[in-house]
């Protein structure tokens, strides 16, 4: 049996990689992918704890998180398509009409 701390650490590593991606990259799609990565890090933590605590709440929460991620992805990509309709632009720094 793998100790729970291993899953906790894996979650933390994935979360930090995702957060670093959000803060370092400028391509909106890659930022969105990094956010997905963060949500998955959370899910590993939830499911790991669910097993550790012998409680199902963590798995149910994990399913809710996946569904929320689906909605977020759909709306986020729709915003990108709307932005892209009249010009080619996905780098967030090119979005410069407002100060970033």
């Amino acid at each position: 049996m793998i100790p729970m701390t291993h899953f906790l650490v894996l979650g933390a590593i994935l979360f930090l990689i995702g957060a670093a991606g959000v803060l370092m990259r400028r391509n909106a799609i890659i930022i969105l992918l990094s956010i997905e990565l963060m949500l998955n890090a959370v899910n590993v933590t939830f499911v790991g704890f669910s097993r550790h605590l012998a409680d199902m709440t963590g798995q149910v929460f994990g399913i809710f998180v996946i569904t929320v991620a689906a909605c977020e992805a759909a709306v986020g990509l729709a915003i990108l398509i709307a932005l892209n309709r009249d010009r080619t632009m996905v780098n967030v720094d090119e979005v410069n009409l407002l100060k970033w």
């Binding site: 906790l8 979650g11 979360f15 995702g18 957060a19 959000v22 909106a28 930022i31 969105l32 956010i35 963060m38 949500l39 890090a41 959370v42 933590t45 939830f46 790991g48 704890f49 550790h52 605590l53 409680d55 709440t57 963590g58 149910v60 929460f61 809710f64 998180v65 929320v68 909605c71 977020e72 709306v75 986020g76 915003i79 990108l80 709307a82 932005l83 309709r85 967030v92 979005v95 009409l97 407002l98 100060k99 970033w100």
Partner: protein, 501 residues
């Protein structure tokens, strides 16, 4: 086989949410049968529905705390107060939208549907008695608002505001969620009461000292800080507020604060009293920073909408100040004072009328392709349009906290709470920043009354739409009423405490 036990569900408690879900479907269906020119009718349907639901929610006031849906959902005075206020804010925002949507050519039925969807999320959040419910409510609210911010697709400002708000918001909910996951792991439950029980039970003291749990709490606070745009998590706000359609800006500046602060108070006060010293210190620092940053940065703005955006950061600071000063330690025991919680409730109520009014003034001057966004545009309005000028002065004075307006009573009550629980430094910072804020609100009044219009300046004309006029009259009257006769509203604010802690 696992036995299926159907829990006891009192559906009548969730009537506002159920009604709202039906209303959204009705709005979307009616939208199909209304021609493009008459989409305002869809808005009228939404308005009537929201008013009725507001009355339904009001009927639940004062009946103590009741939970249902296996403890996932709670109706107490705090949640009813927040629901009624959010629905009131929505009704007024729809009135403001009716005219604006026509001018900006975004008069689609989905506009009202998305607005109602976000209200659904807020109501669920206000009644959320479990981290899962609160999270889902928060996401429903946020995702609908991302869409609303980007709704003016023909306007690059709006689309880009939508993208930035979306990316920051999604990042923030990831952070918040990680905090929730760690909380779940250490307490073994996601229920608000269950978390509190885990902390007060056997080994609870060790959990409260665990560094990873503290890290989780910081993430939770940071996530909510992003949603409330507390400095230093405020960087998305000026852009999102400036780019969004103006009535939506007014709506989100008020309604989101109501729902988020309610959920934050429920989590911190009910679930985390055992770690109160930690989150209190954290929030203290955030509050002080937010107050200073929001008010100082507002001085430098030349765009009226952007100035109001920064000022709303400052006001979030005041609301949070109420949350901080609610906690005090009496005889070594963490206690939450009634005066602090009711100060938050009253301040939010005052802010509802005032801020919607200020954004309503901006909508009043919107014409095709002209937004009256520059402070310079407002030169000499006081002489040219005395009534509109007076209304704007009332809102600005209330934002600054000058009697006899709602904002004054709100701030007075807040500072009284801060002094009573001995948060002298916070009260002092709040007072100084209140004076600073009078500088930029006062400058606006000076521009309107003391300066003359330039020769070449475009003539500002005010819309005469009856819905807009009605909404602004209501807002002015309410702002003055709360300032002159605050009694019964203060009682309502005090009533929010009942059954909450």
């Amino acid at each position: 086989m696992l036995e299926v036990v159907i829990p006891d569900i009192a559906l009548s408690l969730a009537l506002p949410e159920i009604g709202l879900a039906i209303l959204v479907c009705a709005v979307l269906i009616i939208d199909l049968f209304v021609s493009l020119e008459n989409k305002s009718r869809v808005g009228v349907v939404a308005f009537v529905g929201v008013v009725i639901l507001g009355l339904v929610a009001f009927g639940q006031w004062g009946e103590g705390a009741r939970t249902t849906f296996s403890g996932f959902y709670v109706v107490d005075n705090l949640s009813v107060f927040v629901k009624v206020c959010v629905l009131l804010c929505t009704a007024i925002s729809i009135l403001l939208l009716l005219q604006y949507a026509k001018v900006e050519k975004i008069n689609y039925g989905e506009l009202y549907a998305m607005l109602l969807f976000s209200v659904f999320g807020m109501l669920v959040m206000a009644s959320g008695n479990d981290l899962i419910t609160i999270y889902l409510g928060l996401e429903t609210m946020s995702i609908s608002i991302y869409v609303l911010v980007a709704f003016m697709r023909h306007d690059p400002l709006s689309r880009e505001a939508g993208l930035k708000y979306f990316l920051m918001g999604a990042f923030a909910s990831g952070v918040l969620l990680y905090g929730m996951a760690l909380t779940y792991g250490f307490t073994g439950t996601t229920s608000i009461r269950g978390i509190a029980a885990a902390f007060s039970g056997e080994g609870g003291a060790a959990i409260a000292q665990n560094p990873v749990m503290i890290f989780g709490l910081i993430l939770l606070v940071a996530g909510f800080g992003f949603k409330l745009a507390l400095a230093p998590f405020h960087m998305w706000l000026p852009d999102a507020y400036t780019g969004a359609p103006t009535p939506i800006t007014g709506f989100m500046s008020v309604a989101v604060k109501f729902a988020t602060v309610a959920a934050l108070m429920r989590i911190l006060f009910v679930a985390f009293p055992a770690m109160a010293d930690r989150w209190n210190a954290l929030l203290w620092a955030l509050t002080a920073f937010t107050l200073v940053w929001g008010n100082v940065a507002a001085i430098a703005q030349t765009s009226l909408k952007r100035m109001l955006a920064y000022s709303s950061i400052g006001h979030a600071g005041y609301v949070l100040m109420g949350v901080v000063v609610s906690m005090t330690v009496i005889d070594g025991k963490v206690t939450f004072t009634d005066i602090g919680i009711s100060a938050v409730a009253f301040y939010l109520l005052a802010y509802l009328f005032t801020n919607l009014g200020a954004f309503g003034m901006l909508i009043l001057v919107c014409r095709d392709g002209y937004r009256g966004d520059n402070i310079e545009d407002w030169k000499g309005i006081g002489q040219a349009h005395p009534w509109a000028g007076m209304a704007f002065v009332v809102f600005l004075l209330s934002l600054g906290g000058i009697p006899p307006t709602a904002g004054f009573v709100g701030k007075l009550y807040l500072f009284a709470a801060a002094v009573q629980t001995e948060y002298y430094w916070l009260a002092a910072i709040g007072l100084v920043m209140s004076a600073v804020s009078m500088y930029y609100y006062g400058r606006m009044i000076m521009v309107m009354y003391m300066e003359n219009r330039g020769e070449s300046q475009e003539v500002m004309s005010f819309s005469s739409a009856p819905s807009l006029f009605f909404a602004l009259v209501v807002l002015v009257v309410a702002t003055l009423l709360l300032g002159i006769f605050p009694g019964s509203f203060l009682d309502a604010a005090k009533g929010t405490v009942a059954g909450f802690i």
